[in-house]
């Protein structure tokens, strides 16, 4: 078998393996969702209180319950007594806190996925802390490609405006924008994949130097782009479709079905979080399968340390093999070690 054929075989079932891993370690999903929910609920509290202040004993809110009267909603926005958007800062802070939280726990999450076992709380946060500053550095590095992508988006916007302006067809500019935006979205997905691989590599191989790690991750991602990108795209597709279908159902729900609406919208949020974890789990699974091909810079875990040959004792014929088994592989899961 050729190397390519072997790798193709290894990539089989990667999406399913990732999903299976997320399912087995679903505590992570629920914890992440819980933190997302709690932080957002805290961010929403000032707005809720403000609304309760003006609507708590007023009949004016009824058009919002029996439907969604945009006129009344704008009233809430414009009347100084309610000033609905005045407290949006709390939501912004909630979003930033959740970002920092995710940045912190990503090391722990990847460690769980690498080892495919339940970590003790101390172990989990230990792993999170161990990788936190490395991931902060990676996040800062990621600004470079994302800024370029932002500039590209700005360029696409200008170009579509320029061409659309000169075209008789009203749609021309939009289609150019759409194509450009799609391309940039795919590029952004690749950048995310690249940095995910860098994070996985840092965890699996305990890399400390993030800059070289980043370039190696780029090489790995680029050489395996077909397999990895397909996985990421497939999972992103699930996220987008879920979002679209969820919003479609939401639009069809009767305006008074508040509990069902709440459950549906929360389901959408869960699916968004789940698919992101699914991408991470898939990338860990893929990396574990192919780790032997990617030697470490900091600690060479993939190459067994030379073992001094000891003359076997007559009564312990199996001692040598026991000694070999005690060498800690870089993975600790159920998947087969890399070949």
């Amino acid at each position: 078998m050729t190397l390519e054929t072997t790798m193709a075989d290894d990539n089989k079932g990667l999406v399913a393996a990732g999903a299976s891993l997320v399912w087995r370690r679903q505590r992570i999903l629920w914890w992440v969702f819980a933190v997302n929910f709690i932080l957002s609920a805290l961010g929403t509290a000032p707005t809720r209180n403000q609304l309760q202040e003006v609507l708590g004993h007023s009949l004016a809110g009824q058009p919002l319950t029996k439907g969604f009267d945009l006129g009344m909603f704008f009233e809430l926005v414009r009347v100084p007594e309610s000033n609905l958007f005045a407290s949006h800062g709390a939501s912004l802070h909630a979003g930033i806190l959740f970002f920092l939280f995710m940045l912190f726990v990503t090391g722990g999450i990847l460690t769980v996925y690498r080892e495919d076992r339940k970590l003790q709380t101390g172990e989990f946060f230990g792993a999170s802390g161990a990788f936190f500053w490395r991931f902060v550095r990676l996040a800062l590095f990621s600004l470079i490609p994302f800024v370029f992508l932002g500039l590209a988006f700005w360029g696409v916007n200008r170009l579509s405006g320029y061409i659309g302006d000169r075209s008789v067809s009203a749609q021309a500019g939009f289609y150019i924008f759409l194509a450009g935006a799609l391309l940039i979205t795919l590029l952004a997905l690749f950048v995310r994949l690249w940095f995910d691989i860098a994070q996985v590599r840092a965890v699996v191989q305990d890399e400390h130097k993030m800059w070289p790690n980043l370039w190696k991750a780029l090489g790995i991602s680029w050489r395996n782009v077909a397999a990895l990108f397909r996985v990421y795209l497939c999972i992103s597709g699930v996220a987008w479709v879920t979002l679209a279908v969820g919003l479609f159902i939401w639009a069809k729900l009767p305006p008074t079905a508040a509990p069902v609406t709440f459950v549906l919208l929360e389901f959408i949020i869960v699916m968004q979080l789940l698919t992101r974890l699914w991408q991470r789990a898939s990338s860990v699974t893929w990396y574990k399968r192919h780790a032997a091909m990617f030697p470490s810079d900091s600690v060479d875990c993939t190459t067994p340390a030379p073992v001094e040959l000891v003359e076997p004792l007559p009564d312990s014929a199996e001692r040598g093999s026991t000694q070999e088994a005690e060498v800690e592989p870089p993975w600790n899961g159920s998947d087969a070690p890399p070949q």
């Binding site: 809720r48 919002l64 009267d69 006129g71 007594e81 959740f98 959408i268």
Partner: protein, 653 residues
């Protein structure tokens, strides 16, 4: 043979008559003149698309019906507004203007426009080009050249005519403020020298301002436009001829009577759609000029035109012209959209406009057609009393749109959200309620927000609120009477107010003083609503029991604003009883006390939601039981948005 000649002659007469009938600017059952025709314009224009320039000769016959000798004539040169130091640009830069997005990046020279008078001759008096001088009657701006005046060597006596022959060049800006070009599209508005109006004893010829529109005398227009022959053209009035010049150009002639302006639009990419409205004075042709890209809006345009014309015909009076031309501007020419000229309007839409929203093209088209009545025929002075046009038209927009698309869904009924047109009008008003009175000339308003909020929103909201006093049908009759009495003339705001008083059979001066001449704000508040046991002091009183315990219920209504208006308050009790109290609102507050074996559930001022001018609906009611539904719903959406935002941000982690 003789018989044959007679038959031929008869046939010729029939053909000519038919042709004449086809060229009539009026609907079949209408014969002119409908107005006191002061002006007669004949314009021969040549459009040079590559330069966006029109070169033209204008012959204006002015009939002096003023009863006074006239020795000078002012003219509007509106296109001169589009120069960096003009009053229009200064005001738009200072206050903002909703018809241009030019100024945030400085003045763009593509927005330059001009009206250059090459020569001006008065028949019998010679060339008076050198007599031309520019005036700035409103602000004294020496750089503003939107009004020119020519002094005559001798006056035109009352009853006499004077004929001006003016050669001019109109250079169009890239679309800005109701006129200009975009790619191959041209909307030619305010493009020719137009004489001012001799009104109330003197000339009325204001400079072009950022926050006002136009004012002109009625008359006739015969306009010939020469342009490349692949261009499709639409204009005020009716087309009377279309001649191929054999040199790649054609000359199209239009004729209009009893109108006070002339605009046209041309583009080789126009698609023409026609429909017919069967009105009370005969068929009216609806001619839509649109684009392939806007195909999804074609039927929407025609449907809303049919519905609007039918309601205006039924409610306010007949549309007497033979044709209405609707121009759908191309993408990127939004500032040409939503504009009215006599028998000619521009709509606005996008190729992706969802059917659930009715702003584009429905509301815009309805609104612009409404101007045919409140600007086109009832030709008020828009410089000084813009609310009589834009405001009344916004009110009738709310009535027509609500009638066509539902009271609470006439702006939006999409993705679970609804909005009615009355709410839209109110929204624009409540943010600027105390800024400017309606009676102030709108070019002197505080800002563009105040202009739109007061001129459009306040008038509509004020008239909707007036329905609570005189009734909807009475107000409709009053507007019908106002239209029928003052069409083809220049009424004032007093004419309108007097007409409403007469039809309503009451003196509404108390209302007009506050709503039209004043800046009073209407805001009522339920300050208190509670029930307490009458036997509260008796420590041995039995436990409270529904239907048996006697309560004293206290209701306190308060007038927070300085606008005095009679209101109704509805009090609901827990035994199912409902009481409605009328309060004249004269005092600052009013207390109501009830002794009943029932406790209060809720109190609501204006339970029928008629007082649209009340700036704050949130304080109009008190419910003794907590009302959580709306808070929970909005808080849920807010929560979801926050969660979504947070998880999107974490994608970068």
């Amino acid at each position: 043979m003789q018989a044959g000649k007679l038959v031929l002659a008869f046939a010729a007469v029939v053909v000519v008559a038919a042709a004449m009938q086809g060229q009539s600017p009026f609907a079949p059952k209408v014969t002119g003149p409908l107005s006191q025709r002061v002006v007669a314009y004949q314009i021969d224009a040549r459009y040079l698309p590559e330069k966006h320039v029109v070169e033209a000769t204008e012959t204006l016959i002015y009939h002096n019906l003023t009863g006074k000798p006239l020795d000078h004539f002012p003219f509007h040169l509106y296109l001169n507004a589009f120069q960096p130091n003009s009053t229009w640009v200064r005001e738009a830069h200072r206050d903002g203007n909703f018809r241009t997005s030019t100024f945030h990046r400085g003045w763009d020279t593509r927005r330059n426009g001009s009206n250059d008078v090459i020569s001006l001759e008065v028949v019998g008096m010679g060339d008076l080009t050198k007599q031309i001088r520019f005036l700035s009657p409103d602000d004294g701006n020496p750089d503003d050249k939107t009004v020119m005046e020519v002094a005559l060597p001798r006056p035109v006596e009352p009853g006499q005519d004077i004929t001006f022959k003016i050669k001019f060049r109109a250079t169009f800006p890239e679309v800005v403020a109701r006129t200009g070009y975009r790619r191959t599209f041209l909307l030619a508005g305010q493009w020719f020298p137009k004489v001012g109006v001799f009104w109330n004893g003197s000339w009325n010829c204001h400079q072009f301002h950022a926050m006002t529109e136009f004012f002109a005398d009625f008359g006739t227009y015969d306009v010939k436009i020469t342009l490349p022959k692949d261009y499709i053209i639409g204009a005020t009035g009716v087309q009377t001829s279309d001649a191929d010049n054999g040199n790649g150009t054609k000359t199209v002639a239009f004729h209009a009577e009893d109108v006070h302006d002339f605009a046209w639009s041309a583009d080789p990419n126009f698609k023409v759609l026609e429909s017919q409205f069967n009105g009370s004075v005969g068929d009216v042709k609806i001619r839509l000029l649109s684009y392939d890209s806007h195909r999804s809006s074609w039927q929407r345009y025609l449907d809303v035109m049919q519905g609007t014309m039918q309601r205006f015909d039924e409610w306010y009076g007949p549309y007497p012209y033979a044709q209405i031309t609707v121009v759908d501007p191309p993408h990127g020419a939004m500032e040409a959209g939503g504009m009215e000229y006599p028998t000619f309007i521009t709509g606005d839409t996008t190729w992706w406009a969802p059917k659930g929203q009715k702003l584009f093209p429905e509301t815009v088209t309805e609104h612009e057609f409404g101007h045919q009545y409140w600007y086109g025929m009832v030709a008020t002075n828009e410089f000084e009393s813009a609310w009589l046009d834009e405001g009344i038209n916004s009110y009738t927009e709310a009535k027509v749109m609500d009638s066509l698309f539902g009271k609470n869904t006439s702006v939006l009924n999409w993705m679970g959200a609804q909005m009615g047109n009355s709410a839209l009008q109110r929204m624009s008003y409540i943010g600027v309620a105390e800024t400017d009175p309606l009676s102030r000339p709108s070019y002197q308003d505080m800002s563009i927000g105040s202009y739109s909020g007061i001129t459009y929103g306040k008038t509509a909201t004020m008239l909707l609120t007036l329905e609570a006093v005189v009734g909807q049908e009475t107000l409709q009759k009053a507007l019908h009477a106002y239209f029928m009495k003052f069409r083809f003339s220049h009424p004032t705001q007093e004419d309108l107010l007097r007409t409403v008083n007469e039809v309503a059979g009451q003196d509404l001066g108390w209302y007009w003083q506050q709503a039209v001449y004043g800046t009073q704000v209407l805001d009522y508040n339920v300050r208190r609503a509670d029930s307490a046991r009458v036997d509260w002091a008796n420590k041995e009183a039995p436990d409270e029991k529904k239907g048996e315990t006697l309560y004293q219920t206290t209701i306190l209504l308060q007038r927070l604003g300085d606008f005095v208006f009679p209101v109704v308050a509805e009090i609901k009790f827990d035994n199912g009883e409902t009481i409605r109290e009328k309060w004249d609102g004269q005092d600052r507050w009013k207390r109501y006390v009830y002794l009943k074996k029932a406790s209060v559930l809720s109190v609501e001022i204006d339970p029928d939601h008629q007082v649209k001018m009340d700036r704050n609906y949130l304080n109009n009611s008190i419910a003794t039981e907590p009302q959580r539904g709306a808070t929970q719903k909005i808080a849920t959406y807010w929560l979801i948005c926050t969660q979504f935002f947070a998880q999107m941000l974490s994608w970068l982690a």
